[in-house]
């Protein structure tokens, strides 16, 4: 009973949906529904906090057709955060190979795009683009949830 009361009292917390993206999605086969596997290639977990917020009740990316899944075998897109460390280089490459075609790679955050403050560090193998081909980039350290949602909506077209 308490749960029902709480649901009624809280009401709707999701942000109103901004207008639909006008551009065509980069992979039209995936439009409408994109299953995403998140890979932490060496992130400081700042980006992860923002991803959690994107899929939380306020931004609720699932209503635009984006969904997190538990295995690259189930996924259409890889959401990679952090600079690619030496330990994660092979794993990232194998994860990329495990995703069925057609596939999309999103480099999330400044570290993923160009190694950010970790550029040149001894444990870093390079940016995500140095290891696997990147289709979409989201800048920011960490990126704002609105920006991440916008990038995901660009993929789903909704």
């Amino acid at each position: 009973m308490n749960l029902w009361k709480k649901i009624r009292k809280t009401g709707r917390v999701a942000e109103p949906a901004p207008p639909r993206p006008k551009d065509k999605p980069p992979k039209p086969e995936l439009a409408g529904s994109v299953q995403i596997r998140h890979v932490d290639a060496g992130s400081c977990n700042g980006c992860e906090l923002e991803i959690a917020s994107v899929f939380g009740p306020v931004h609720d990316a699932e209503r635009y057709g984006a969904r997190l899944v538990a295995s690259p075998r189930h996924a259409d897109a890889l959401l990679v955060t952090g600079p690619v460390t030496r330990n994660m280089e092979t794993a990232l490459r194998r994860t990329y190979e495990a995703v069925p075609e057609p596939k999309v790679v999103i480099a999330l955050g400044d570290c993923a795009r160009n190694c950010g403050v970790f550029a040149g560090a001894y444990g870093v193998a390079g940016a995500v683009g140095d290891v696997v081909p990147v289709d979409v980039e989201v800048p920011g350290c960490p990126p704002r949830p609105e920006d991440i949602t916008k990038a995901l909506r660009g993929l789903t077209g909704r």
Partner: protein
């Protein structure tokens, strides 16, 4: 003149001789061949007795005072035939398996087989008790065959010796009191005698307890999961597929045949004991990680199912519903036959796993599919048959049993309306759990990757062992596809045990009940469905280009055997569901480094699922006996004066008692 049965016994004696005199190289081959012949002859003799050609013998000089009276009728014939079949498979198997076994064990196996064949043929109380004890002693010595190698064998032997002899005392008391009241000790005289009232109740309860302990019925089952795993595997098969049946035989013979049925509550007791055994047995089997212990508990479960059928038969008989009684009894007897077939197969396959790897711990096995492909196939067949799913053979008998229980509902009275749905639920739950149990045994034991060096080095069994297993497997398939082949014989037995209707009427009724499902059609439908699915999948797969991909292993290094499900982890969800019933014990011991309590040096984790009945019922009884024994040691301290004093006191007390009472 029917010479099949004496011929089988003579071949047993010959096998025993062949196991003792010839050189060790050829011993097991000669004895195994002779014993296989004995088994085949006994199978034929039993089948002949079920078809109406009975055999009897009266040997007044063989045993002083009482003589030996043997008679193989339809009921005894069924159990002799089942035993004969098990002996044949086990004997062929033993040619390869027992090649290096000690000579005593090889000599004893044919003797044990002969005792097993003779028990259902005994036709007087003294003969029966003698043969019963011969069977118990022979099997006890066989259980102890490996006692030098493993200390666990001795403890199993002690448990078995004590429980089997307590059972013998109960049977002896019951049958001797019955014979004294009947004024004669042959079964024909007992059958004629009208034992009524308290005596009949006493006889029934005492013999039921004794026979139940032999059949491994809860709470007298504790010896079974200890002794059956410790015996050599072909002996385990004999014990688990043939010897436990003798408990069922005794209950049917004394309760339904000699006492001629009885009040309904007797059979409700039998039914309740059966349901309890079925559930307890399969729950313990589901969490067991020792392959042979799992099979031992599965025996308890199956004997429980048989007793549900026997109890229902007695209950219907007492309620005057002869047709239903015949159906329930036929289902129970059919399950005895089916259980013997698949349990022989499973124990022999477990023996070849033990032979090939040296371990029977499911947590250490795995990966046998590539190393022992034929054993894996026969074990899979046995597991399918044991899990009561179509097209296995246990499905047929459990289906018949469920039918008899459900058909009683419309007009069975209050007790039937309460008991029968519970029995149906128990049978259904047992069937579901046994499927999980055997998926665990096959999946963790034979598939995936080897979990230990022993499993890595596994090798396939020699041809004679494979031949024994193949024979048992063929019996399973035949029983699964053509249960109607044995139904006429079973109907002959129900016609004999439940008087008032002829075997012909029973046969017609059973055929009608059995024709409500057709095992051949089910098997054919399954095969067609699987083939069609495979064809569709293949057609779909061929339409797309194939690409070779790496197995997904989370992106990191090769997967190891330590990442696999073990038998324990597979059973964990079940164990959690039945937590209150099973009461598992786990123990975590953390050792810290000397310098700091915050740093852990070693963590030791131990988990076990003890048999709760054994824990709660037997441990206190043993502790009490131990205490009494210790206390009475004070009485005998070695002083001769004290012993003389005891003698004098006893003498004086006797005199006083005599003086007062006379």
């Amino acid at each position: 003149m029917n010479l099949l049965f004496p011929g089988a016994l003579a071949l047993c004696a010959l096998a025993s001789l062949l196991a003792s005199i010839p050189p060790a190289r050829v011993r097991s081959a000669l004895a195994g061949t002779a014993l296989a012949g004995a088994g085949a002859a006994a199978l034929a003799a039993g089948a002949a007795a079920m078809a109406g050609r009975t055999w009897s013998a009266w040997l007044p000089d063989l045993l002083p005072l009482a003589g030996v009276r043997l008679e193989l009728d339809a009921l005894g014939g069924l159990f002799t035939a089942v035993t004969g079949g098990v002996i044949t498979a086990a004997a062929i198997y033993s040619i390869g398996y027992a090649r290096h076994a000690p000579r005593t064990a090889q000599i004893l196996v044919p003797l044990f087989a002969a005792a097993l064949l003779l028990v259902p043929a005994a036709a007087s109380v003294s003969t029966f008790l003698l043969l019963w004890e011969l069977m118990a002693i022979a099997s006890l010595l066989l259980v102890l065959a490996d006692h030098r190698a493993r200390p666990a064998v001795r403890s199993a032997g002690v448990w078995y010796a004590v429980l089997t002899h307590l059972g013998l005392v109960a049977i002896l008391g019951g049958l001797v009191a019955f014979a004294a009241a009947a004024g004669g000790e042959s079964f024909a005289e007992l059958r004629r005698a009208d034992a009524g009232g308290a005596l009949a109740i006493g006889v029934f309860l005492a013999t039921f307890a004794g026979f139940a302990s032999k059949a491994g019925i809860v709470p007298l089952h504790v010896w079974l999961p200890r002794a059956h795993p410790e015996a050599p595997s072909h002996v385990s098969a004999l014990m688990s597929a043939a010897m436990v049946n003798m408990g069922i035989y005794g209950i049917v013979r004394v309760g339904l045949d000699l006492l001629g049925g009885g009040p309904r509550w007797w059979w409700l007791v039998v039914l309740a004991a059966g349901a309890l055994s079925a559930l307890h047995g399969i729950l313990q089997a589901a969490v067991a990680s020792d392959l042979k212990r799992l099979l031992g508990y599965s025996t308890t479960e199956n004997m429980g199912l048989v007793l549900i059928g026997v109890g229902a038969a007695g209950f219907f008989e007492a309620s005057g519903e002869r047709a239903l009684a015949a159906l329930a009894l036929a289902a129970a007897l059919l399950h005895v036959i089916n259980h013997a077939a698949f349990k022989t197969l499973l124990f022999l396959a477990a023996g070849s796993v033990l032979h090939g790897t040296g371990t029977r711990d499911l947590d250490a096995l795995g990966g046998l599919r590539e190393r022992m492909p034929l054993t894996t196939i026969v074990f899979a067949l046995g597991a399918l048959c044991a899990s009561a799913l179509p097209p296995g053979n246990a499905f047929v008998s459990e289906w018949l049993m469920l039918q008899s229980l459900i058909r009683s509902l419309p007009d069975g009275g209050v007790s039937a309306a309460v008991v029968m749905p519970l029995a149906v639920a128990a049978v259904a739950l047992t069937a579901g759990l046994s499927a999980a149990t055997f998926v665990k045994a096959l999946g963790t034991g034979f598939l995936a990757r080897p979990r230990s060096a022993e499993a890595e080095r596994a090798h396939e069994a020699p041809p004679s062992m494979l031949a024994g297993m193949a024979l048992a497997g063929a019996a399973c398939v035949a029983l699964a596809l053509g249960p109607t082949l044995v139904l006429p014989g079973v109907a002959e037995v129900t016609g004999q045990v439940l008087p008032g209707r002829g075997p012909a009427a029973d046969g017609a009724y059973l055929r009608a009940a059995a024709s409500s499902l057709s095992p051949v059609l089910i098997a054919a439908a399954l095969a067609v469905t699987v083939a069609a699915l495979l064809a569709v999948l293949r057609a779909l797969a061929l339409r797309r280009a194939r690409r070779a991909a790496r197995l997904w292993d989370c992106g990191a290094g090769p997967m190891t055997a330590r990442m696999e499900y073990t038998a324990t982890s597979f059973a964990e969800p079940l164990q959690r569901v039945f937590d209150d019933v099973l009461a598992p014990e786990s123990d975590v011991e953390v050792t810290h480094v000397k310098e700091s309590a915050y740093l852990v040096n070693r963590v030791r984790f131990q988990a076990a699922v003890p048999d709760r009945i054994e824990h709660r019922l037997y441990a206190p009884a043993i502790a009490l006996a131990d205490r009494v024994g210790r206390a009475s040691r004070e009485l005998a301290n070695g002083s001769v004066h004290r012993y003389v004093g005891y003698g004098f006191a006893a003498f004086a007390v006797t005199l006083i008692v005599l003086a007062v009472t006379s």
